[in-house]
Subunit: 213 residues, 2 copies
DNA sequence: ATTTATCCGGAACCGTAGTTCCGATTCAAT
DNA sequence: ATTGAATCGGAACTACGGTTCCGGATAAAT
């Protein structure tokens, strides 16, 4: 039961012209047009709502906002956790892209700096998504260990470059930095924190990890 | 209904010898011995459990740990929120005491420093109590505004002294500092963070708010 | 146009956690 | 020892949110 759309995420918009009999064994079916549309609508609605009201919102609300029934939502994401996973994945990927961008910056310090700013900015926009999930008993680091590792490595290279350049103290770990920045994002209570204040906090952190003269 | 033990918290252990008829209008009744005992047991159990498993634990568990029935618990704290309030109050008071202690330190920088360390230490011990409450939709700053203000003022005097002494930058606010330190405490995920790492984070923050040479 | 596999919608179900209620129990005053 | 009010205990009630189920609608293949 309910095994029909398992693993259909990567379908994209590739046209299927191969003989059905054989390819059916590999790729079950291309997913109906409306289904694909709904899948996207749900994902988007969830992202918006979670960012706005936190992950505690009842799932009905997400369905309502997406303009679909609850049943439909469950057809696409058999569990609320599955929804979380999809969104966190999006988020991690996006961060990874940001990190990649920042690595290109020839100035190591600037690179690290702008990554952290962007990281903080995203985190505060998406109302403490990561943290709220932790609260709800989902261990992100465990569930997405591979993607997480990659991101971590990327950030670490940002940090290492800055250290090599002599701009950042060698005795602060990547985790320390990320913990500090993440922490800043939700410390200001449920009301969130305005971007200006947040950037001020990031500045302090940056000052804190700089090499002293 | 259920108005019999309203406001009986401050009863303490003062002996009542005044004529009952008159004092009854002022102080309803001294609270039965076992009741007082239970009140204390519940408070203590709640503090322990909340610190250990977070505020999401069902209230039955608290009652069980305190060795009383659910009904009893509700007799003393008519709502789960009421329990929260009692505990947060304890916590705030304790922090206030710490702050008072630190103000006595003749060295302003050391004073601020040791307060922040202690603050961080307590926060990590008591498993993100404040934050978890925020998550649960309780706005601490609003509900305890008066006590909170006092604490805030105290910390601000710690900061101001350090600024006057030329040890801390003048452009960082008290809120910034507290946000950073609070943030550090729970950023490390549900598993918490060991005290050594936490102190390292506090060190970075302290470095970040120092005046540059 | 017909047919059928897929998908949609939302009523109903179930488990969980907060809260209420009231008979049984216990304190403490006489 | 007796008595009555205060307190206790926990079964039962309620609200809420996640999940299941299935009759009806729809895309797309013939």
């Amino acid at each position: 039961m309910t095994e029909d759309d398992r693993g259909a995420h990567g379908a994209s918009s590739a046209v299927q012209t191969a003989p059905p009999a054989v390819s059916a064994l590999i790729e079950p079916r291309p997913m109906r047009a409306d289904a694909a549309r709904n899948h996207e609508k749900i994902l988007q609605a969830a992202e918006e709502i979670f960012a706005l009201d936190g992950v505690m919102v009842p799932i009905d609300i997400v369905a309502e906002r997406a303009g679909v029934g609850i049943g439909t939502l469950y057809r696409h994401f058999p569990t609320k956790e599955a929804l979380y996973e999809a969104i966190v994945m999006t988020r991690l990927t996006s961060l990874l892209a940001t990190a990649d961008e920042c690595v290109k910056n020839p100035n190591a310090q600037e690179g690290l700096c702008s990554f952290l700013r962007e990281f903080a900015h995203q985190s505060s926009e998406k109302k403490d998504l990561f943290d709220a999930l932790g609260q709800a008993g989902i261990d992100i680091k465990a569930r997405f260990s591979d993607t997480f590792e990659v991101l971590m490595a990327r950030v670490d290279s940002l940090r290492q470059r800055a250290v090599d350049e002599g701009a950042v103290r060698a005795d602060v770990g990547t985790k320390d930095i990320l913990n500090l920045v993440m922490g800043s994002c939700h410390a200001a209570g449920p009301s969130g924190i305005d971007d200006t204040s947040l950037q001020r906090l990031v500045d302090i952190i940056l000052a804190g990890i700089e090499t002293r003269s």
